[in-house]
Symmetry: D2
Subunit: 282 residues, 4 copies
Amino acid sequence: MGAAMSQRLREQGFDVVGWDVNGDRTKALADGGLQIAADARAVAADCEIIISIVTEDHGVRRIFTGPQGFLGGDVNGKLFIEMSTLQPMTGRELAPLVEAKGARLIESPVLGTIPQVRDGKLFALVGGRIEDLDRARPVLEKMTRRIAHMGPNGCGYAMKLAVNLGLGAYIQALSESLALGAKQGLALDQMLDVLQEAPYASGWMKSKIGVMKGEKPEMTLDIRTLRKDIMSAVATGALSGVPMPLSAGTLASLSAAVANGYGSGDLGELPKFVREVMLQNF
Amino acid sequence: MGAAMSQRLREQGFDVVGWDVNGDRTKALADGGLQIAADARAVAADCEIIISIVTEDHGVRRIFTGPQGFLGGDVNGKLFIEMSTLQPMTGRELAPLVEAKGARLIESPVLGTIPQVRDGKLFALVGGRIEDLDRARPVLEKMTRRIAHMGPNGCGYAMKLAVNLGLGAYIQALSESLALGAKQGLALDQMLDVLQEAPYASGWMKSKIGVMKGEKPEMTLDIRTLRKDIMSAVATGALSGVPMPLSAGTLASLSAAVANGYGSGDLGELPKFVREVMLQNF
Amino acid sequence: MGAAMSQRLREQGFDVVGWDVNGDRTKALADGGLQIAADARAVAADCEIIISIVTEDHGVRRIFTGPQGFLGGDVNGKLFIEMSTLQPMTGRELAPLVEAKGARLIESPVLGTIPQVRDGKLFALVGGRIEDLDRARPVLEKMTRRIAHMGPNGCGYAMKLAVNLGLGAYIQALSESLALGAKQGLALDQMLDVLQEAPYASGWMKSKIGVMKGEKPEMTLDIRTLRKDIMSAVATGALSGVPMPLSAGTLASLSAAVANGYGSGDLGELPKFVREVMLQNF
Amino acid sequence: MGAAMSQRLREQGFDVVGWDVNGDRTKALADGGLQIAADARAVAADCEIIISIVTEDHGVRRIFTGPQGFLGGDVNGKLFIEMSTLQPMTGRELAPLVEAKGARLIESPVLGTIPQVRDGKLFALVGGRIEDLDRARPVLEKMTRRIAHMGPNGCGYAMKLAVNLGLGAYIQALSESLALGAKQGLALDQMLDVLQEAPYASGWMKSKIGVMKGEKPEMTLDIRTLRKDIMSAVATGALSGVPMPLSAGTLASLSAAVANGYGSGDLGELPKFVREVMLQNF
């Protein structure tokens, strides 16, 4: 996502400086003509508005507070737009650290994947102060078709987790449906055909029919990352008194998939994992 | 459903004889001009093709094999079209009993609710012999826009359970999403607004937005019946070696809703139950 | 278990004829001096009281009703003692088939493993008619320290599943406890030491401390068989309206263990599987 | 627990000053002859070693960092012994706040209930620095039969959650076993009789047989508090990558029990709730 975003912003006329924790990816960015900083700290030093997008909560903490992190230098007056999918409490933890350095932080996880980045058609779910969002708008608007202010820091992440929890449930439900049917003697194609007429059929389901039939997936979200998102949702729920038996069941299945080496597969491959690996005769 | 079906078939020119285990409903059918039989046995005696639709597996067994049941008299040469949502093994159990009496049984649970019955726009998921389905077509076609032959007896029910399992997951996932967000400070309207842009948003979700906002529901499926369907799915899965942690989680939530008196509410009211009853502070 | 039982009964003065679906095991029995029958049907023909103990429900159906099965010949007046761990409905399904042939069936799954067989110290959980149990007593008493009549056919199996459901929960709970602690920096030995003082510590837990520390297990019940038992319990529960979210969670974990190749390990190895395979960092 | 602890320590010759957030309980303590402080801050000001035991994480934060909390005054050189059952991260969060004020914090949740307090027979699970534990020993030893140092701050709480997770699993497993059996026609007394011979039978199970038979419970742990503990365990697990499908199932059941008004019942009443409220016919 990060590479696509930097590309999009450059096309829209912004001066962009980039850095990736992964050296290979940094090199690829440089080869693509992007100006590269030495580390996260240097990015923050060079820029007025700093966008981050990483995989998970520990990573984002390192990038902000680690030795060569964003907050290692003078960031007075700067604005951070954090676009990862994280736990709400991470947002609430980072915001005061950023403010203590005289800067501001909004979170802005998005709905959409790389094609939507390219077309500037993401949907941003923003948490943080409205005045900070307003300052971020000129940048965010180049990447999005819609921006929703969900509330103070943490609320953007909470909304994103709430959306992805449903995505995990959807694919795990399809996995259980197809596994149930397979064991009862139904053919996969036939089941997928009927499921497309279920009341809850969706454009997304349609886009995953191919991979569910065994075609090579067009990757949108890998199983490992979805597992991490559901884990964050379950943790956030449990911490605040929300029993989530469905999500905990989804998490068990995704964890088993990762344990079996399916982690880097597309989430559309989960039904195959459940059907081919988890089903067991007496 | 039964009343709407008999009405539809009469409009389409069939001679229909009806009976309902519930006396009040039988009276209402009679008041509507339907010819009424004394019991299930008499229905089978009077008709060449017999349609049944009831709530659950024990009920259907009683109607077929009970003292005044379908199979209590001479049913040689008749065709039964069983349209309930049942466990596959119930279909496999009934078919030989029916055949032992010289009759035939297909199952034909449907996707769709009362408006689709009225318009003849159901989707029939048929299990049984293809020749028996062919004999049923003149009747089924008046009620459906599509008929899919899923396989031998049991396969129609299996497909219906596979579809409804997803419906239960969908509403329980929305319940967990909205509960998670509510505890994190998000407003309900705001969340529903975003969820309609989730990749898995569907026409069905849209149709339930009102009830999820607290409006009086237009009933499509009550929580008690959905719970029964998910219970059937979990049982069918467990009997055949399919671990279903997500569906088991859904079942726990639906069971808690019924235990709290939400059983006759529309399934669109489940999120409210979860949010208002199951959430607990420390 | 079967070999140990036949040995025990011979030691106690009974004439025993044996057969095993597995040729190697049959040969081992013969090498041990046991008289061998050609098939299950021949066992039933030769004996007055016929004991069966197999892994699962499909197997027991084959042995009773298959081509060379118990019920293939004349079994008038005979008594079957079925000692497997099965679903209650299997017992209720077999009993009338046996009675239709003029014979009787009680089920008698047991608590205890091979050492208890050798010492005649099993605990029998009997389902069936009391008069049939009385007829079985001279045999059962040689193998047991206690016989409990739980009710009609099915009730013995139900009680055994209820016991094993708890065993699955116990080992999965230990797995989750140890995994939780491991991720929080606690040492395994230290945790096991404390857990032995938990209010629910039991002799069984003590007997599994070694394998939980990584020692080679003394096999008592393999993970695959426990998974099958929990699957039977979940199916029996779901069929009769019992939501079992804990058991469904246990089943998901045991299924993942089997999928990862841990199926033939002792159930005491489940914590290791959870800790080493299912735990995942972000 | 707090009242019993202050009583025990006074009997053992310590000067004790007490305070309870609940005015009625404070009055009862005063009536019992305990010297009472105005608020938590005053307790900390008056004492060298300060013990706290409360229900949950938010409560303990208020008592430490709230306006009249422990850390509101000069606590330089003092030692806090926190004895609640909390999330490990709460311990890790509080310790540096306490140290910043020149004081020290160990956590010491315990195994045991009020009778063990009275007899000085608790088992303390300590997290924190070993030197601070050594300083706490003269006090802790008067209340305990055993003290285990589990590791740095957080590790004591983690161990306690790991123990209680098993307790929740144990009672929920018994609930599912008894519900399964009840639906299969087994008598409650008969089932409890057999379960006492299950391999995992324990002294604790024996002590709960009476309440499981319907007798008035001797309260040891209420359902609401156990639910909170399991919620903390699930949250701690999810935050660190431990999928806990069994515990999530337990949490769903305990949450349903609290939602149905069983929250202040003893955990031994959970089986009754599951059997009488959660079971549903078709």
